[in-house]
């Protein structure tokens, strides 16, 4: 995957995608704004959510143990996975032990993060996405482009083509006469998926929240596919990042009000499923039988999260509830789409979360904190008040601090030179020295706007630059005593 600047340039040339993204992000944004505006306690809700998450992160070890104890008491089996590899091994073993050669998946961003599908395939198990958008992405051999709307970059004409061409290879083919009408597409997906739900013995899901007090997992969605996954198969495996913990049942009140409004611009999401271990009902002859899955497994995943927690300046990224409100308001994301980030978590939150989870080892990850104009729209939209612009500048400083000082990069040389000038300004003439330099650099073209300056091709590709006037403000002030003499024009 090339670093963001190159990947973005590539994505920007896809005019159909740019059109789709523009339309989709603005539609969600407008719905969200309207629903946020009708809550006069929105800021209090954000502050509450921030406080709850901060408390959780400050005592994460205790809440995790509390969760494990409560979930285990309710009949769930809790597994601890320090990294992706161990999580994949646990899930693959559970699926194989359950005798499954296929699993259905829902809400599976975390499993995208750890590359679970590949691990399952290696164990001879096929994984099928059941979320409509995730299904589209899977059928197209694509990767998600958005946290909540993974197929945001596709329009319905493209989706019809994808269904028509590829559905048959994954199971029930698209029906004849399917149009690109949303109802027709949804009906095709429904028929295709129903077959999978009825056959699957194992489901793999994520979770939006894990309640420490009760050991409950919660899954929030729009389509009901998640509910099918957590009720139909005999074995239910949930891969849950350890940051998904919230302390008490009561806390869900705050997050459920924030999440749907922020994510999809709805007052409430259509389906909220909660499960606490294994539920037993009474069979026909009075014996206890499982109502829903007979085996409930929960894989608690670290995969870099405790490293993020260890950085006081960076840990607020773990407050993220994956609503994607920051993506929808981000002027960078809404033009490049998610693929340019080369990260399962794209957009502003991805630009701060991914380099922290993966570290700043690759060129690609070192470029992510720079994939922002620092406009700050993400912070205003974030329901848990993650100061994304601060995190971006913090990570940029980590990138620079980790660079070898010798040999210095051209950028470092330029920055050092600039600060050397700024630190020791002459009583007069700093402006003139810079202006003179700028004149030397910028002047020269036939109409005084030169087409290019070495090293600044990025600027001159699309923009002219004004020629600095011959006299700076500071020199003017000194020469005219603040405009009071010698031709000063200010009365």
């Amino acid at each position: 995957m090339p670093p963001f600047p190159e990947a973005a340039a590539h994505e920007l040339r896809n005019s159909q995608q740019r059109h789709n993204l523009h339309k989709a992000t603005r539609t969600i944004r407008a719905k969200r704004d309207a629903l946020v505006a009708e809550r006069d306690d929105w800021e209090q809700l954000r502050l509450s959510a921030e406080a709850i998450k901060n408390d959780t992160l400050a005592h994460l070890d205790e809440y995790l143990l509390q969760f494990e104890e409560a979930a285990t008491a309710a009949g769930a089996i809790v597994h601890w996975a320090p990294d992706a590899e161990s999580a994949n091994r646990i899930v693959a073993r559970l699926a194989v032990d359950a005798g499954a050669d296929e699993v259905v998946k829902a809400k599976s961003m975390t499993t995208e993060e750890i590359g679970l599908d590949r691990a399952l395939a290696a164990a001879g198990v096929d994984a099928y996405e059941t979320d409509l958008a995730a299904l589209i992405v899977q059928l197209a051999g694509d990767v998600p482009s958005h946290i909540v709307v993974p197929a945001i970059h596709r329009n319905r004409a493209e989706i019809r083509q994808i269904f028509d061409k590829n559905m048959g290879a994954f199971g029930r083919p698209a029906p004849d006469g399917m149009t690109d009408d949303p109802a027709s597409l949804a009906a095709a997906a429904r028929a295709h998926l129903r077959e999978k739900f009825l056959r699957a013995g194992v489901a793999v899901t994520g979770a939006n929240f894990a309640v420490a007090e009760t050991g409950t997992l919660m899954l929030v969605e729009s389509e009901g596919n998640g509910r099918m996954c957590v009720t139909m198969p005999k074995t239910l495996i949930s891969v849950v990042g350890i940051e998904k913990i919230i302390p008490t049942w009561r806390d869900t009140e705050v997050f459920l009000q924030l999440l749907a409004r922020s994510a999809t611009g709805e007052r409430m999401n259509p389906y909220t499923s909660m499960w606490t271990g294994v539920h037993h009902a009474e069979g026909v002859s009075g014996e206890p039988v499982a109502d829903g899955p007979e085996q409930v497994h929960i894989v608690l995943l670290d995969e870099g999260r405790t490293d993020v927690l260890a950085d006081p300046a960076g840990r607020s990224a773990l407050r993220c509830i994956r609503c994607a409100a920051c993506l929808n308001v981000c002027p960078v994301y809404s033009r490049t789409g998610g693929h340019a980030y080369g990260s399962v978590y794209p957009g502003p939150i991805g630009a701060v979360l991914t380099p922290q989870l993966r570290g700043l080892h690759s060129e690609q990850d070192r470029n992510l904190p720079y994939a922002s104009s620092l406009c700050g729209a993400c912070f205003d939209a974030c329901p848990v008040r993650i100061p994304i612009p601060h995190l971006l500048t913090h990570l940029r400083s980590k990138v620079v601090d980790a660079e070898p000082a010798f040999p210095p990069s051209p950028e470092r040389v330029a920055m050092k030179a600039a600060s050397a000038i700024f630190e020791r300004p002459a009583a007069m003439g700093l402006g003139e020295r810079l202006a003179g330099l700028a004149h030397k650099v910028i002047r020269g073209g036939p109409d005084a706007n030169v087409p290019s300056v070495p090293g600044l091709a990025g600027w001159f590709g699309s923009r002219d630059v004004a020629v600095p006037p011959p006299e700076s403000f500071s020199n003017w002030w000194s020469r005219t005593d603040g405009g009071t003499r010698d031709g000063g024009d200010v009365p």
Partner: protein
Amino acid sequence: MRIALFIACFNDVMYPRTGKAMVRLLRRLGHEVVFPRGQTCCGQMHFNTGYQDDCIPLAEHFCDVFDGYDVVLAASGSCASMVEEYYPTLADRAGSQRLHRRVDSVGARLFELSELLVDVLGVTDTGSYFPHRVTYHPTCHTLRMLRVGDKPTQLLRNVEGIELAELPEAEECCGFGGTFAIKNADTSTAMGSDKVANAMRTGAEVLTAADNSCLMHIGGMLSRGRSPMRPLHYAEILASTREDPLGTGGPVREVDRPTREFAP
């Protein structure tokens, strides 16, 4: 009131007209303006690119220069937000409680133009005259870090003769972002093109804002597109009067030479 000007390096060299307009405006409103010597760069470019260590001496220097002034006016909303929002981060990085106290103190005394006029001086009508169609771009740092709200448009609305046209998708970033414009030139250009297209839809002669850096980026694109629309810091509009009016001039390549009105 005695007001100290913080002109910011970029305005000093590239846009001295903005500072002169502020001087003219504040004197007209009966205030004393001083220009503390030795002021340099706030360090925003360094900070935002990741060179935080290089900014610490600049923050110290900024405090030295503006130590003795009750009110400091920044010519750039973006530089004001650097001081208010990020100098405390630098003080933390330096591990200096003393610097923390100093930057908090200077941050509390530092204002962007509309904050100074509306909040401190209680002025919303500056007696200005500018008979042109204008659209206002609320730059990101002014809007989301300084939280100036609608103060700049309150002031502009009271300018005699002005026709204020609403900018579609006004609150979306223009794509400048300092070194972002160079490091991510293609994305920056895509954002700027949309901003320019929205500005053109207003039919305005002038696009105004509180930051010359954003105006340089948008203006550079207007110029490349041969648009007659002129970028202008709103201090210049407020400085313009019936007795001494500021024309709109032509596109950026002409007007960024010293104009007749503000020629030294």
